[in-house]
């Protein structure tokens, strides 16, 4: 974190400008990959708010993502306007997230994680059972998309990631973020200091749900389709968690970095064929074993040395 603060703000601005003009310099293929990576980064950042700050391990980020994505696509099929679909999708994720979190946060440690994990499995089964409405395992295609061309889609995704990231970072550094961090580390003491731990944690869960759902809904209108495999599958949730831990937990920025790295690495290693996931998992494992603070930890250490 210290390293991040030492980075002069203009470095961030330059980086963002570079990212914004990138589509004119690289192929449409790379633009497409990065678009996906940016949405994925929002998943990872919202997960990090919950884990890094509130100290709660959510094994079911895809429960929230999936709720947002499916709510948005079902409304779009009934010809609701796209912005409204996206907002209602995010709202659905918040409602579902709150329904999950309010009872579940009474539980500690692995039990909370388990409830969130089971929530994903249940949602997956519900979608398969009500295949008549949800398209089941095949999924749905939605009639609208955000934009037809790759470049506007890229800018939508970039703007969305920057805005969400900005809000999440601000939130995490605000007094609320401090209280969250305190309750994540020692809930009893935080409560003794007069803060309502449960309320803050539920609020954190709702914020996390909001951005996950929003991002899930946006992805639907980028891809034009939604399916269990693309937004709910446990494998996706696992990748979100890996991205956040890989980038460096408790940093928000790190989660985005880890997410973009993960997606890019998957693409770069595509020539390896089947072994590509193996290599990505191995790299992530090595980083976790030797640099538990992730990329941000490595960057921070390099910053201190120089």
């Amino acid at each position: 974190m210290a390293a991040v603060r030492r980075w002069r703000p203009w470095a961030l601005v330059v980086l963002l400008v570079l990212l914004a003009v990138l589509p004119w310099g690289v192929s449409a293929y790379i633009v497409g990959v990065l678009t996906v990576a940016y949405y994925f980064a929002v998943y990872a950042m919202s997960w990090d708010l919950l884990f890094g700050f509130a100290g709660e391990v959510n094994f079911g980020p895809t429960f929230l993502i999936g709720l947002g994505a499916y709510a948005a696509s079902l409304l779009d099929i009934h010809r609701w306007p796209v912005p409204l679909c996206v907002l209602v999708g995010a709202a659905a994720a918040v409602v579902g997230g709150a329904a999950l979190a309010v009872p579940a946060l009474r539980l500690r440690g692995p039990y909370f994680g388990l409830v969130t994990l089971v929530a994903v499995l249940v949602l997956q089964q519900v979608i398969v059972i009500f295949a008549g409405i949800t398209g089941g395992e095949i999924g749905l295609s939605v009639p609208d998309v955000l934009a037809v061309d790759a470049n506007p889609n890229y800018w939508y995704a970039l703007a969305f990631m920057v805005a969400s990231g900005g809000i999440l970072v601000t939130l995490s550094r605000s007094p609320v973020g401090l209280i969250l961090q305190a309750s994540g580390q020692d809930a009893t003491e935080t409560a003794a200091l007069g803060f309502n731990v449960a309320k803050h944690k539920v609020a954190a869960f709702c914020v996390s749900a909001f951005f996950s759902g929003l991002s899930g809904a946006m992805v639907v209108f980028y891809e034009g389709t939604v399916s269990v495999g693309s937004v709910i599958d446990l494998a996706l949730g696992v990748q979100v968690i890996i991205a956040a831990v890989l980038g460096g937990r408790r940093t928000i920025y790190g989660a985005a970095l880890g997410a973009i790295f993960l997606i890019l690495a998957n693409e770069l290693l595509r020539p390896l064929g089947q072994l590509n996931t193996f290599v990505v998992a191995a790299v992530a494992l090595i980083v976790i074993l030797f640099f538990p603070n992730g990329f941000m930890g490595i960057l921070g250490r390099a910053g201190e040395r120089s």
């Binding site: 579940a104 500690r108 249940v122």
Partner: protein, 291 residues
Amino acid sequence: MLALQILIDGFAISALYGLGAIGFTLIFGVSGVLNLSHGGIMVIAAIAAWAIAGDLHAGTYIGSAAGVLIGLIAALVTYGLVVRPIQRSRAIPRDETEIFVLTGTLLWGIMIQEAVAYFFTDNPVTVVPLISGVATIGGVRVPYNEIMIAAICWSVIGLLWLLVNRTRAGRALLAASINPRGLTLLGFELSSIYLLVWTIYGVLAGLAGVLLATFLGAGSANIGQLTASAFSIVVLGGLGSVSGSLLAAYVVGYLETLTAYLVAPTLRTIPSLLLLVIVVYLRPQGLLGRR
């Protein structure tokens, strides 16, 4: 007829679930580790048994034994390469070890899954059962293999019970799950106890994997499902409680069999998932959990 069929099939499946889950719960009880590469280790054992029995023409007995052995090796490698370094790392804060172990073993499980898929494809393999033939019990046809699986599972569970309750090493293991610090004060080396529990775990997981492959088949595509079902059985029974896991294995096994026979095979996992949600909300420590 149908009732008897469900009773018999459910019994064998549940025994297998129980065997798979006991090792999982044992490691959690003793060392607080949730091993999310569990399914991977089971499938490695199954694939090894299949490859050695078939490709190397070693026969089904040697193949099965070798499969269990390789499952044990895989478990020990998991401990030595992934879990232990995380537990001993100074850079990881104590209270975050849990999530690191979870993430680490999860990644390891993915690596196993991909490696198995690469070398052996993701088609499930079926190991030739140790004994063939079909018995008829009360008009229901039951493969001898199914009876043997139930028998092996229960003998192993019985042996485990004897080991834990009747031997010195086993009692130390039990003590470690209750109060590890007290045990170190008595002069026991915790790391050798951990090694023992991982060894037991490896044998149980290897055996469960090989037996599963003779019964339902096993392949890299099942790894996630196997881990998830062991995890949910263990939580349903109470993390760390061996008898709870056994009880939960039977509840889940019979619920699934009942659903498969009476409702539809595609819905077989749903009732147990719902039960799990209800139990976790109402009684988060599980059926027989201690906390």
